[in-house]
């Protein structure tokens, strides 16, 4: 049985004419899995997380978290989830330790258990030495770590992370991604939202691609890139007219398709390493010289482009 089962979840603000932010979304997350929701800003990722956190009531559909309905049993759901919001949501005028103690109490911890969990989390987020400093004295990365640490205090079964790496330096970002992978290795289930294709690709066991509130693709990385085929894309520019060259290249073994796009040729090839030398040879035979080559392996960016006609960053 999946630990998270989302069934036809929808959210419309100010019905009946308001924005349909999430439209009939369904997916499941297995125990110990990192599941990413990938999509551009405004796609409906945060609204989905808000409904799964029981902050927003769905307009339609339901979701079960550890067997509890987000609609009917919100308190039970809240006790098994940890939520890391997109914006840092801790108290800047309190120290790191004071924050963790306060949030621990909100999760129902107390006494020795609270103290030991606060110590463990401070260790986990590498802030033992700075635990008595106020949050407003921290760097952005340190604040992010406290923001994540708060959600880990009660040992949640499912951790929701809503774009936790937005606006931080590469070093802190690396630390956060490594931390998430470590949590997964300890058996925690993670629901991760991002608009960074590379993060989703690196972290996730499975990815749901969401756009305009709809889940447009869902699967493992391999399953998703199969949507665009397993062919690499090669973009070439030459110093002569492209027409003759494209005709020559399209007849080569391993080249599936060759077309002209503006000032360059676009080729779909089976194995780029095998085909590239032949492309250069053929160009030389045709009296042309290749001036630039760009090879794109199939990835989630291409999948999103293929499915929506837009780049993910737009």
């Amino acid at each position: 049985m999946s630990i998270v089962e989302v069934q036809g979840l929808s959210k419309q603000y100010d019905p009946p004419k308001g924005v349909l932010a999430v439209d009939d979304v369904s997916f499941a997350i297995e125990h110990g899995e990192i599941f990413s929701l990938l999509g551009p800003n405004g796609a409906g990722k945060s609204t989905t997380i808000s409904m799964l956190s029981c902050l927003l009531r769905p307009s339609d559909g339901d979701a079960l978290v550890d067997g509890h309905s987000v609609v009917g049993e919100p308190q039970a759901v809240k006790s098994v989830i940890g939520v890391v919001p997109q914006d840092i949501a801790v108290y800047p005028d309190m120290t790191a330790r004071e924050n963790l103690v306060f949030w621990g109490r909100m999760y129902g911890l107390g006494g020795d258990e609270l103290k030991s969990r606060v110590d463990e989390v401070l260790e986990l987020i590498s802030l033992v030495d700075r635990q008595k400093d106020r949050i407003d004295k921290f760097s952005g990365g340190m604040k992010r770590r406290v923001n994540i640490g708060v959600a880990l205090l009660h040992r949640p079964k499912v951790l929701y992370l809503d774009e936790p790496t937005v606006g931080i330096d590469p070093q802190s970002r690396r630390a956060i991604l490594d931390g998430i992978l470590a949590l997964r290795d300890q058996g925690m289930t993670v629901l991760y939202t991002t608009h960074y294709m590379a993060e989703a690709q690196e972290l996730s066991d499975r990815v749901g691609i969401i756009d305009h509130g709809r889940m447009i693709a869902l699967g493992t990385h391999a399953e998703l890139v199969r949507i665009v085929g397993e062919e690499a894309r090669v973009d070439i520019t030459v110093d002569k007219a492209l027409e003759g060259m494209v005709e020559r290249w399209s007849g080569l073994r391993g080249v599936t398709r060759a077309t002209i796009e503006e000032d360059h040729a676009k080729l779909l090839v089976g194995d780029a390493n095998e085909v590239l030398p032949r492309l250069f040879e053929e160009a030389a035979l045709g009296g042309s010289r290749i001036t630039s080559v760009n090879v794109s392996e199939p990835n989630l960016e291409l999948v999103f482009l293929h499915l929506t006609g837009r780049a993910l960053r737009e």
Binding site: C54, K78, V83, D87, A89, F102, M106, Y107
Partner: protein, 417 residues
């Protein structure tokens, strides 16, 4: 319950670390009360400095008219004795000098605000029967209007009493029909009247100060106390609003939504917020009461009645602060609308003017504000009133507090359910 207290403690601690908020909640009411009390001169600790006065008397018996009865007593000496009496110490610092020229020089040199110069024919004019008149000279420093006015008032009153004594003695002699010894009788009666000390008693300023019916110091309301009570309640509104506003700021900053993702109900969170507002305002009140006692020596009244008044005041301020926050959407709106509401209520309720002197429609309106009856109760408590004495005045504030809380809870539950 532990979550409610955790939220309340967190907010209370944040408030105590917020220096601008503390200034607004604690220093501002003390400073304003001190300034207003000083300006209106009502506080026991605020006294106007005594005016420096020099007095000299050239008075002498007219030749051949020494008194026939009793020891000789020059009216000028009695007049000087009045000015230098202990009863006037608080307002006049009188020094006797020799000669009119020396007295004027002291004023010219700035050593005194006023010189009072008694003429040589002062006694002759008072005891004589030939219609002679004379005048006491006041030589004043024009830059010291206030001190001059006080001195002039005292001297004028003394002269009126002298004239009154003379007239009374003349009438008494006429009624007695002592036509042969008429002049001597007037002289003797006036001299006795003056020597009896009745004049000096009548001139004592302390005796002319208004008294409460009971006449005991402990039962008189302290002006500075009333002013501070008004300021205290006024700034309690701001204190409550400041803490209640954290509901909006936490909503904006994301900590309130985050709290709602924990297994903590919206009711518990609101309970914690309400508790923090109430606790903060109660602490604010206690600090101001203690500061008022230590700094201004205010006797707030019996412990029991002060405790009840403190709790009712905190409940009213908390309820109003929460209500304002419940009906606005942003911290900015809370600041602007809240300040307007509190100012209007303070003006209607008498926080700046007191409640004792109001009448007519204003008094009726004042009675139906949450703060007006509360101020009356504080006034009563400071005059020694018991819990029973203030009970009636507390009904309206308690009713307001209940309504404020109920509406605030209803609004917040709709917003965060």
């Amino acid at each position: 319950m532990s979550k409610i207290l955790a939220i309340a403690w967190k907010d209370l601690r944040s408030t105590m670390r917020n220096v601008p908020a503390l200034v607004m909640m604690l220093l501002a009411p003390l400073a304003l009360a001190g300034l207003i009390g000083f300006a209106f001169g009502g506080g026991d600790s605020f006294q106007i400095a005594a005016t420096k006065v020099v007095v000299t008397s050239a008075d002498e018996w007219p030749p051949g008219s020494l008194p026939m009865h009793g020891p000789p007593a020059l009216a000028g000496e009695t007049f000087v004795a009045i000015l230098t009496s202990e009863g006037l110490d608080d307002v006049l610092e009188v020094t006797e000098v020799a000669g009119a020229a020396a007295a004027r020089r002291r004023v010219d040199d700035g050593d005194a605000a006023v010189a009072v110069i008694v003429p040589a024919d002062f006694t002759a004019a008072l005891y004589g029967t030939e219609g002679t008149t004379t005048a006491v000279e006041l030589y004043v420093n024009p830059s010291q209007e206030f001190g001059t006015a006080i001195t002039e008032s005292v001297v004028t009153q003394a002269l009126l009493d002298f004239n009154g004594a003379r007239a009374a003695a003349a009438v008494a002699a006429a009624v007695a029909g002592d036509s042969a010894g008429h002049e001597a009788a007037v002289q003797a009666a006036a001299a006795r009247f003056v020597q009896d000390g009745g004049v000096s008693t009548a001139l004592a300023l302390t005796d002319r100060a208004p008294h409460s019916p009971a006449g005991e110091q402990g039962e008189q309301g302290s002006t500075i106390g009333l002013v501070l009570a008004g300021m205290m309640i006024f700034f309690m509104f701001f204190g409550a609003s400041n803490v209640a506003r954290t509901i909006l700021t936490e909503d904006h900053d994301g900590t309130l939504p985050r709290m709602l993702t924990t297994p903590t109900t919206a009711s518990t969170i609101l309970g914690g917020k309400f508790t923090s507002v109430f606790l903060t305002v109660t602490v604010q009140t206690i600090v101001l009461l203690v500061a008022g006692r230590l700094i201004f020596g205010i006797d707030w009244g019996g412990l029991e009645v002060v405790a009840v008044l403190t709790l009712v005041a905190a409940a009213v301020a908390s309820g109003l602060g929460l209500l304002v926050i419940a009906v606005v959407r942003t911290p900015g709106q809370a600041g602007a609308i809240g300040a307007g509401v509190y100012l209007v209520l303070a003006l209607l309720g008498g926080n700046f003017t007191g409640t004792a002197t109001t009448s007519g429609t204003y008094a009726v309106v004042q009675g139906f504000t949450p703060n007006g009856p509360l101020l009356r109760a504080w006034d009563e408590a400071m005059r020694g009133g018991s819990l029973a004495d203030v009970a009636d005045d507390l009904l309206v504030p308690i009713a307001f507090a209940v309504v404020f809380f109920a509406v605030a809870v209803w609004r917040f539950r709709r917003r965060y359910a």
